[in-house]
């Protein structure tokens, strides 16, 4: 993760921070009402439906929230009651979250791809109310109800396919809103009352920590916490008023709530919601956001897609892109290394902007993106440099659900590959004697729901124990190495963090996922999941015929390709930590199989258990293994497939 | 993006326009936009060669009163829009006189030329009514109109028939176009005056196929047959006439019948055929002899030497001779530089000009741009054209009635 030791550039004069977006007494509702009063006709939300963007102004936004809240109350929604929100990003789901918050309830968004049996973990609060995006989610909730008796009321957004459902408590969103409107008409003071009911210490959202270890834990974030986090970030110029933002990340992820709801209301963003997950990249171009967040994986995928596209382009275009990208990456590398800008950089970059960088950014829909962020996992050097070289101000930040996602961020003057930036104003960071990162801030949460033990372990003396291993550089920049719990030893006693090596391997566009083995073993080895798109294209170009992912992964040519990638990584690892053997898995790791989390973090224990056969064969020195793969069908049923997998030595 | 192509063409055309040509002020510019590639191909090459050779002779002799002459030549393909483009280009280059040798192109350009005051020389083509200088001040036919040609042919026939045309049958075999139909009123008027029986037999344009028409002509058994066409239709007419038993020495043609046509049909078979001639034929004419000596012999000719003296070559020479005479008179009277207006007055003061025997005596006035309407009848002797008459003009009253009648229509139509 470390680049050559960078020399810090002189810090430029600090820009005056924008006015505080909110005060301590505010709630998301009061800020929404403020927006509706001061910027009634300004667009707040945009939602794409059948190719057309439907717009909601701030007045429409408030109107929907208040009407829905009134309708929910009429159904018997009570304070402190959780409300499940399940589905892809939809405007009405956001309205429902705020409507629940207005009634002092707790909106609890859930990842839409959570299978029915896992839903119970998230729904342990026995929520009586749920809002679902479409028929698929309604079915899941009905199944949940059959099992647990809750939720009692299921409100749905998209009525398609639901006309014949006779289940009780299944209500159309429109119906609830209509009922609410009727109440609002009858009681003129109700609207103001609904807006003012929630206080800063009421819960704004209930999320679940991603749970790399064990089951997800409920994290309740109060209005006060969320708004404090946004104030801190705004003070660091992390985002500004009126950004164009695209809401495409899962609603159950803290980042989406903070960006698409919290900051959007506090700083009056225009939030655009794509038509669906499949159309995000396409819709992104229509949205042209000014503020864009994507995980390191997404940036990698984007780069892979770009490279595939450019590889099959015409020779002239390909040549121009290759020339200007090499140039820009070189300039960016030097700039990050602290070299003074030379005049010719600007000339060449200006030309490149016209011919290559501008068009590519336009294609990505990032032509207007002034602030691009990534967080979660470390981003690959190639990817990071590529997008920065394009002229995107891509920066890293660091945060966790427990601290409203906003803890530290890079500023323009100190962008470096291995750091995640410095603490935001209002956030204190300390490294304890074990190397763990501790945080103290107004934005830190108040404890896990119904789990005092975990709370006591996490919140110690007013400090949040993050579980991340890291250190502070002399200039205050935070470096994150991995999870404290991730440090493992080989049988020879060599310390290493598998994740760190895995990230280096994944910087190759051909590798989608990789699990590095070696804890308690004599040497390191890897289970590799190739990237279908990149390797598929690579094979196509070279005339390697294949039928499926499994087939492609076992091609000798592909093995040679992956071997090359691993050898490259070995080159920068100390000899005892070099990878000796590897296997190409016949499938990619899948959250549905529990191998990775929804945010694509490895679940090591699951992998080690499921692929124990393979792992044993690797360390037994076998050159191939007949593996019985257990697969899960879309229907939820599972079956067994036999696969013969090659195991190969990495070699020198 | 849309008009990039057009921009390129403009650039290209601009490039072409910026060609060397803007020499000294003294240079007199003449523009000829001819049809080298479409309909008038039968004569254009020889015609243009004659024009350029004559200009070469003029320049070799020191120009017109010390003014060199620059002749610009372009192809129009007989398309009016290309003619208009050429005309506008000549205008911007400062041409004092233009020549198009194409009836459609001349007609399309006439309104513009009248408006701009640039002289158009329309010898043996174009509007016959342009002979009326009061209506067409800058259009100079300077040659016998088709109406005058018709009267001259009838005059010859009248003489051959000893002045008695009563009950004689005269047939006109014509191409079915305005050009072909143009002389009909003259023949009809004269038939009233002279008592012959006139009938017209049109064949469809372009005249490659005339057999049906000639079958009718044979049935009519005319005493005299006149063919009125141009280009490829002419040898067809002559061949059909022979095949249908029309006596060849009683077959007369409008001016557009050349030695080439006769050779196509058969030089000896066609012996005796008659044609109207507005310009002397052959190399014996002093002016043509001079060209041969001073231009061709020195290798400065604009084309193959064997064309010198041919019918259309000589017509080309004649056009430039008339222009040069007009220019000379203008420069003599008014001095240089030569403007279109001066040239017009110069042309209108031409009096009894014969171009050393090439032309019938030509006298142009501001009213009469036809120049007298004289011509002669010549017969094909198997190798060359032999004049059968002097330069004659007849029944000019009929001709001028028609000129005035048509020019009046033109005048009215513009308002």
């Amino acid at each position: 993760m470390l680049l050559d030791t960078p020399v810090a550039r002189p810090t430029r004069a600090i820009v005056e921070p924008p006015p505080a977006p909110s005060s301590a007494d505010d709630t998301l509702l009061s800020l929404l009402a403020r927006n509706a009063a001061t910027h009634a006709r300004r667009v707040a939300l945009r939602e794409r439906d059948l190719g057309i963007w439907h717009e909601y102004t701030w007045r429409d936004y408030l109107d929907q929230v208040v009407a829905l809240a009134a309708g929910l109350e009429a159904l018997g929604f009570e304070p402190a009651e959780p409300m499940l929100v399940i589905g892809d990003n939809r405007a009405r789901l956001y309205f429902a979250m705020l409507a629940a918050a207005a009634l002092r309830g707790v909106p609890a968004p859930i990842y839409p791809e959570v299978p029915p049996e896992e839903l119970a973990h998230f729904a342990r609060e026995r929520a009586r109310f749920a809002i679902a995006e479409d028929q698929e989610q309604v079915d899941k909730l009905l199944e949940l109800r059959a099992r647990t008796g809750a939720p009692e009321y299921i409100i749905y957004d998209d009525p398609r396919g639901l006309a014949g459902y006779a289940a009780s408590g299944l209500i159309d969103y429109e119906t609830v809103v209509a009922r609410g409107r009727a109440r609002l008409k009858a009681d003129p003071g109700l609207a103001a009352d609904l807006i003012a009911r929630a206080g800063p210490d009421d819960g704004a959202v209930l999320l679940h920590s991603s749970g790399t270890t064990g089951r997800p834990k409920g994290v309740l974030l109060k209005h006060r916490r969320v708004l404090a986090a946004i104030r801190n970030a705004a003070a660091a110029d992390y985002f500004r008023e009126g950004e164009e933002y695209v809401a495409y990340l899962p609603m159950a992820w803290i980042g989406d709530f903070v960006f698409s709801v919290g900051a959007a209301i506090a700083l009056r963003f225009v939030v655009s919601i794509p038509e669906g997950q499949e159309t995000v990249l396409r819709d992104l171009r229509e949205i042209a956001p000014t503020l864009y967040f994507a995980s390191a994986r997404s940036w990698d995928n984007l780069l892979t897609r770009l490279q595939v596209g450019i590889d099959e382009s015409t020779p002239l275009k390909r040549g121009l892109v290759a020339f200007f990208m090499r140039l820009a990456i070189d300039i960016e590398r030097r700039r990050l290394a602290g070299e003074r800008p030379r005049p010719w950089w600007n000339v060449l970059r200006g030309l490149g902007e016209l011919v290559v960088y501008g068009p590519i950014k336009d294609h990505l829909g990032l032509g207007r993106a002034h602030r691009c962020y990534t967080a979660g996992e470390a981003i690959g050097e190639d990817t990071f440099l590529f997008f920065r070289a394009l002229g995107l101000n891509l920066k890293q930040f660091y945060g966790q659900t427990e601290n409203c996602a906003l803890t530290a961020a890079q500023d323009d003057a100190r962008v470096r590959l291995h750091t995640v930036g410095r603490a935001l104003p209002g956030v204190e960071i300390r490294i304890d004697e074990n190397g763990e990162v501790l945080i103290r801030a107004e934005s830190v949460f108040d404890g896990y729901v119904d789990d005092p033990d975990a709370t006591a372990r996490t919140l110690v003396d007013g400090w949040l124990r993050t579980g991340d291993a890291g250190y502070l550089e002399p200039d205050g920049e935070l470096v994150i190495l991995g999870r404290v719990g991730e440090v493992v030893h080989t049988s020879a006693g060599e310390r290493f963090i598998p994740n760190y090596i895995e990230n280096r391997i994944k910087f190759s566009q051909y590798v989608r996922d990789v699990a590095v083995l070696g804890a308690g073993r004599p040497f390191l080895a890897a289970i590799v999941c190739i990237d279908m798109e990149a390797v598929g294209h690579w094979a196509q170009v070279r005339g390697v015929a294949y039928t499926s992912y499994a087939d492609l992964s076992q091609k000798p040519e592909v093995y040679a390709l992956v071997q090359g990638v691993l050898r490259h990584v070995n080159g920068v690892l100390p000899p005892p930590l070099r990878l000796r053997r590897f296997v190409n898995l016949h499938k990619a790791f899948d959250p549905d199989d529990g191998e990775v989390t929804r945010t694509r973090k490895l679940r090591r224990n699951v992998i080690e258990k499921r692929y124990a056969q393979i792992i044993d064969a690797i360390y037994a020195g076998a050159s191939e293994i007949e593996f019985e793969a257990r697969i899960t069908y879309e229907t939820g049923e599972s079956g067994v497939l036999r696969r013969r997998l090659t195991i190969m030595d990495v070699g020198a | 993006m849309k008009k990039v192509l057009a921009t390129l063409t403009f650039l290209a055309a601009g490039l072409a326009a910026a060609s060397p040509g803007a020499a000294q002020d003294k240079t007199i510019k003449v523009g000829t936009a001819l049809d080298f590639t479409a309909v008038y191909t039968f004569l254009t090459a020889e015609y243009s060669q004659g024009q350029r050779d004559y200009i070469a002779l003029l320049n070799a002799r020191g120009g017109i009163k010390g003014h060199p002459v620059d002749i610009m030549v372009v192809d129009t393909g007989n398309q009016p829009q290309r003619g208009i483009e050429a005309y506008e280009r000549f205008k911007s280059e400062g041409a004092v006189l233009v020549d198009f040798l194409s009836t459609p192109v001349s007609r399309a350009v006439v309104p513009r030329a009248l408006n701009d005051g640039i002289n158009v020389l329309t010898m043996f083509h174009g509007r016959s009514d342009a002979a009326d200088g009061t209506v067409f001040p800058t259009i100079f036919p300077a040659s016998p109109s088709y109406w005058a040609q018709a009267t001259a042919i009838i005059k010859y026939i009248e003489e051959q028939e000893k002045g008695n045309l009563k009950d004689k049958k005269i047939a006109l075999v014509l191409i079915d176009s305005p050009f072909g139909r143009e002389p009909i009123p003259v023949f009809e008027e004269l038939s009233k005056r002279l008592g012959y029986k006139f009938s017209a037999f049109p064949y469809p344009s372009p005249g490659n196929e005339q057999s049906a028409t000639w079958t009718q002509v044979r049935r009519e058994r005319p005493d005299w047959t006149i063919i009125w066409g141009a280009g490829g239709g002419q040898p067809v007419s002559v061949r059909e006439a022979i095949r249908n038993g029309i006596p060849i020495d009683r077959l007369a043609s409008v001016i557009w019948l050349s030695e080439t046509d006769m050779n196509i049909v058969g030089a000896s078979q066609t012996k005796g055929a008659l044609r109207f001639e507005g310009v002397a034929y052959g190399k014996d004419v002093p002016l043509i002899a001079a060209i041969e000596k001073e231009v061709i012999a020195k290798g400065k000719g604009a084309g193959p030497a064997e064309r010198v003296g041919s019918t259309y070559y000589n017509i080309g020479v004649a056009t430039m001779a008339v222009f040069a005479e007009g220019a000379r008179l203008a420069l003599e009277k008014e001095g240089g530089p030569l403007t279109p207006a001066k040239l017009k007055r110069g042309l209108e003061s031409i009096k009894d000009y014969t171009a050393d025997g090439l032309l019938p005596p030509l006298t142009i006035t501001s009213e009469d741009h036809q120049g007298g309407g004289r011509g002669r009848i010549a017969a094909w002797d198997g190798a060359k054209w032999v004049p059968k008459t002097d330069w004659i003009a007849a029944h000019q009253d009929i001709v001028w009635n028609l000129i005035r009648q048509e020019s009046a229509k033109f005048k009215n139509s513009g308002n």
């Binding site: 190719g51 042209a288 207007r368 | 080298f36 393909g77 483009e85 280009r89 016959s128 305005p178 139509s413």
Partner: protein
């Protein structure tokens, strides 16, 4: 490279169907319109009157023919005759004292009425047979015009375009004639641009693809074929009138003979069937390429002092012109419009080969 599509979005289907959703295209159109309006100030009169003006008029005519050939799929080999009817109609009308604007409309209506009669042929025959029936129209109209002196204007067969006023302004100079032609051209162009977005345009396309299939899906092929002939003839008549008044200023039968019909068809085919921009490009190539080539070859021969005879020199452009037309059609059988679309697309997807996503 120049096309920036980020942020182009629509909040209604009407906006989604806009003619030029891409900002660059809109700027192009604005720039072209500005250039067209400013052309008299920018171009020497030579180029205005003998290049730009006839190009605009012929593009208008090609658009009219393209409506019939490209949109409705009906061939017409007598389009020059349609234009002739408009030209003679308008000149006679103005000479009778009818205002030019009405005469223009009237000439369109007259052409449309006569064109419609021949359109009836299209109801019974298709393809080559229709080509022959429309050819008959060409010959018939030619013959009538040149044999009826009352129409053609006497034995010299030339009719001067009388002086006229357009919207109260006397049209006399090159500039005013150009603006009249430009106005008509812009009107016709915007009509054709929008035809594709209307039910009329879609019905024409259905008839073009297969008339009885169109009938099966409820499109009255009878009605729409006639409508196509009517509209196309109307536009032909109007452009013929504009050609007579603004460009030739006098009409003779040769200006509307079969060659001209063939040229009009060539403009549509070389330009691109069913394409507005193709009509412009086709008109430019067919009308202007011979002139430009001629000038270029002439200038080159003079500059290089080539010892070539004028006859040879005159035929070189003709050969080049033929090569150009055949070359374009071999290179891109769908016409210049497709060439333009390819170029546009090349830059639209820049730096990729295909559209992404």
């Amino acid at each position: 490279m120049f096309y920036r599509l980020a942020g182009v979005r629509h909040t209604s289907y009407a906006a989604d169907r806009a003619l030029w959703p891409v900002p660059v295209d809109r700027w192009q159109i604005r720039a072209l319109l500005a250039l067209a309006v400013g052309a008299p100030f920018l171009l020497p009169d030579l180029y205005l009157t003998s290049y730009l003006l006839p190009w605009l008029v012929w593009s208008t005519a090609a658009l009219g023919l393209n409506l019939l050939m490209g949109w409705a799929g009906q061939i017409h080999l007598g389009y020059a005759a349609v234009m002739a009817i408009g030209a003679y109609g308008a000149i006679h009308a103005v000479r009778l004292g009818i205002p030019f604007e009405l005469a223009l409309l009237g000439s369109g209506l007259l052409s449309a009425a006569i064109g419609l009669v021949f359109g009836f042929a299209a109801l019974r025959v298709k393809g080559l047979y229709l080509a022959i029936s429309t050819l008959a129209m060409q010959y018939l109209v030619d013959w009538i015009i040149s044999h009826v002196p009352a129409i053609s204007g006497g034995s010299q067969a030339t009719l001067q375009a009388p002086a006229f006023r357009f919207l109260g302004v006397p049209v006399a100079g090159d500039w005013s004639r150009y603006y009249v032609a430009l106005a008509v051209c812009v009107l016709v162009t915007s009509f054709l641009l929008n035809v594709g977005r209307t039910s009329f345009g879609r019905a024409l396309a259905a008839v073009r693809e297969k008339d009885f299939a169109a009938a099966v899906i409820g499109v009255n092929a009878f009605y729409f074929k006639l409508m196509a002939f009517w509209c196309s003839s109307f536009l032909g008549g109007v452009s013929g009138a504009v050609l007579a008044f603004c460009y030739y200023r006098a009409v003779t039968p040769e200006q509307f003979n079969l060659d001209v019909s063939i040229q009009a068809v060539a403009m549509v085919i070389v330009g691109g069937m069913g394409s507005v921009i193709g009509s412009y490009l086709g008109a430019a190539l067919v009308l202007l390429a011979p002139i430009v080539l001629n000038n270029l070859v002439g200038a080159f021969a003079r500059a290089a002092a080539l010892p070539l005879h004028q006859e040879v020199l005159s035929h070189i452009p003709l050969i080049l012109y033929g090569v150009l037309i055949v070359g374009f059609l071999l290179f891109e059988p769908l016409g210049l419009a497709k060439v333009y679309a390819n170029i546009r697309n090349y830059f639209l997807v820049w730096p990729f080969r295909h559209a992404r996503h």
